[in-house]
């Protein structure tokens, strides 16, 4: 037996460390995900509630097993917040799931970096989908994903508050909406809000700004997504609109609901106007089970030179390095099938992405009629291969304007500079 002393021990440890470091760094290169045993893994930020799990693990998996009886389906339930880190660590470690559910706007950045697989010919028949919903699944004329559900942003409002304030017409411009919010605001004697005119934290500030930008005819990027256009006069007008409610005294960033309680400030009368993702309305309708919870609430769209409806949602795609690609695409087909989509989206408050099914009477979301008629006004985020970086920069810039730390012009100039650096790295 070799004599073990401190020196030989240290030598052996150093050698082992160097080998292990080399191995771990080698793992940083491109590698394929699992699936050699015929299994298919799924990473999903939706379906996490009991009803969703029942659909995914029951009906959808059953449909998939019709063609792949021996394939195991391994599901990793996640949240939107941690999805980017799950994807990046999965890519780095070669453990990324085969089937991925991602957001609108995510396809160009990941497709550009060769992370998502282009759909095979058999899955490219997209005629049943709404055009506006299939557009975010494309990058450079190729389709990388199919939509599972859509989650547009609408403006919910309290009909009784409008009536009490004598507002009989819904706001049709930025100016009218700001005036209405001001009119609806009620303050306590000490100065705090008895009722805020609007809760601007109810929907993502970035998405509200993109909606306002579209409503006044502006655009975020050029068609290739490589030139910044959002710092135009329209961009400034849209940013002034979003930040203006705080300056008007109609709300503050502190007027906000608790996490996990949809429509809380609106239902409790803490605010009168509430820009929100439709899923929050749908979830409330599902929870209220046909009760009177939403009877007093109406819906409209942000409008300036035209109405605009932000359309977010979930896309289903396949990891380009999935070993069992055929099975992964079949699972994608099962997840996005019409019946599965309807069953999956309704409990979450989402709407199915199909042109004809949007009129389905079984959909419980009370904002559905407005949404169904407004797809021609839709706008989605993204469009740039650098979107995953750029999107994180936008909310701090808007917050800086709202809190008076920066002027609109300075915030947009700084945002443009950061966005151009990010685009330059592509």
């Amino acid at each position: 037996m070799t004599n073990l002393n401190r020196r030989t021990f240290l030598r052996a440890t150093a050698a082992a460390s160097i080998s292990a470091t080399s191995l771990s760094l080698a793992a940083c290169g491109n590698s394929s995900s699992g699936g050699g045993d015929g299994s298919v893994s799924v990473l999903t930020p939706v379906f996490a509630n009991a009803a969703g799990k029942k659909v995914l693990e029951g009906r959808i998996t059953k449909d998939f097993h019709g063609k792949h009886p021996d394939a195991k389906v391994r599901i990793d339930y996640s949240t939107w917040d941690v999805l980017p880190e799950k994807i990046s660590t999965g890519l780095a470690g070669g453990t990324l799931a085969d089937v991925l559910m991602v957001g609108f706007g995510w396809v160009p950045p990941f497709a550009e970096k060769n992370a998502f697989a282009e759909l095979p010919t058999s899955l490219r028949a997209t005629s049943g989908y709404l055009d506006q919903v299939i557009a975010p699944a494309r990058y450079l004329d190729k389709i990388y994903a199919l939509p599972l559900g859509v989650d547009p942003i609408v403006v919910a409002y309290r009909k009784d508050h409008f009536e009490e304030a004598g507002i009989t017409k819904l706001p049709r411009s930025f100016e009218e909406l700001r005036a209405a919010a001001k009119e609806l605001t009620r303050r306590k004697s000490g100065g705090g809000f008895k009722r805020a005119g609007i809760d601007i934290t109810a929907a993502n500030l970035r998405q509200q700004w993109i909606t306002a930008l579209d409503a006044c005819g502006g655009r975020m990027f050029d068609a290739e997504g490589t030139k910044v256009l959002f710092d135009s006069d329209k961009g400034a007008q849209a940013l002034d609109f979003v930040s203006g409610f705080v300056k008007d005294g109609s709300t503050s960033l502190a007027v906000r609901g608790s996490q996990g309680l949809p429509l809380e400030t609106l239902r409790n009368g803490i605010c009168s106007i509430y820009p929100t993702a439709a899923s929050a309305i749908g979830q409330t309708a599902v929870l209220a089970e046909g009760g009177k919870e939403l009877e007093n609430i109406g819906y409209f769209l942000i409008e300036e030179s035209k109405p605009s409806m932000f359309v977010g949602g979930t896309l289903v795609t396949v990891n380009k390095r999935a070993r069992n690609q055929e099975a992964a695409f079949d699972l994608l087909r099962a997840v996005t099938a019409k019946k599965a989509s309807l069953a999956a989206t309704d409990p979450n408050g989402y709407l199915p992405p199909f042109g004809d099914i949007a009129a389905d009477k079984t959909i419980r979301n009370p904002a559905a009629p407005l949404i169904r008629d407004s797809f021609r006004y839709s706008v989605s985020e993204g469009g740039s291969p650098a979107w995953m970086e750029i999107r994180e920069m936008i909310n701090p810039a808007i917050e800086a304007v709202i809190t008076g730390k920066q002027t609109t012009e300075k915030a947009l100039a700084s945002l443009r500079q950061q966005a151009e650096v990010a685009i330059g790295r592509i």
Binding site: C28, L91, K113, A397
Partner: protein, 310 residues
Amino acid sequence: MSAPDTAPSRQRSPLRARRPRSLSRGQRRAGVLFALPGTLHIGLWIGLPVLAAVVLSFTDYNVFKSPEFIGMGNYQEIFSDGEFLRSLRTTLFYAVGTVPVTMALSLGLAVLLNQGIRGQGFFRTAIYLPQITATVAVALVWSYMLQGDGLANRMLNAIGIDSVDWLTDPSVALFSVILISVWQGIGFNTLIYLAALQGLPGDLYEAAAIDGAGAWRKFISITVPMLKPATFFVLITSTVGAFQAFDQVYVLTRGGPAYATTLTTYEIYKSGFSDFRLGVACAQSVVLLIALIVLTAVNTRTMGEARDGN
């Protein structure tokens, strides 16, 4: 001419002479084997990731392609990047706001708990409870209390003070995060101080009492100097903890509003998982590590000199 018995270059100074071996071969082998699990653990789970991070910090690595060596490129970028420097400043402010306050309050509480008051066990448990509660849960509860119409503002309103935008006003948000961190950090430090206090020799206090020293004089002249090792430990662990704070910011503010609470750890997280720039994130982590090593060295030196002076 005969050569000297021992060549000067090969002479060992008495200080550097090899120590006589007092352990047998079997004992040495046993020692190495006992050290092996710990060494492997540290090497594999701490040393190796640190080494990998240092290597990756010199590369352009974005998880979509293999790392490419770019020399000091990432370091040049982060030091010309306003966001990273701003996060370092915010972290420094956070540490300065958290560490001394936590230490002072912990010492005060430990002294109170050491007085043999009734219900001591209950108070000890109550003070230590925040430490063993998950930071995410703590932050979530605090976020409910600090929201616009939350408990904190209701209490302020009840005594005629206007509501404060605890987490949404850029000039207040960092103080709110500091407040929560202080509240959560007190338990552990109090326990360390309490253990140290209970080990102090009683005869010193008796002698001081005979000399006519009052409670304050005894605290300043006996307790504080005698607690120096505990203070040193608390200072190092609190400083390191402050520079590694992440959960509170992740749950409470997501670094906002307008970057007001973006600590360096959160900036690293953004670089790695939002921007997918792991090379840059590794460089930022290495800078944070170096900053911590420097701070610890300064603390060690300062506290060591103070101890020698005494």
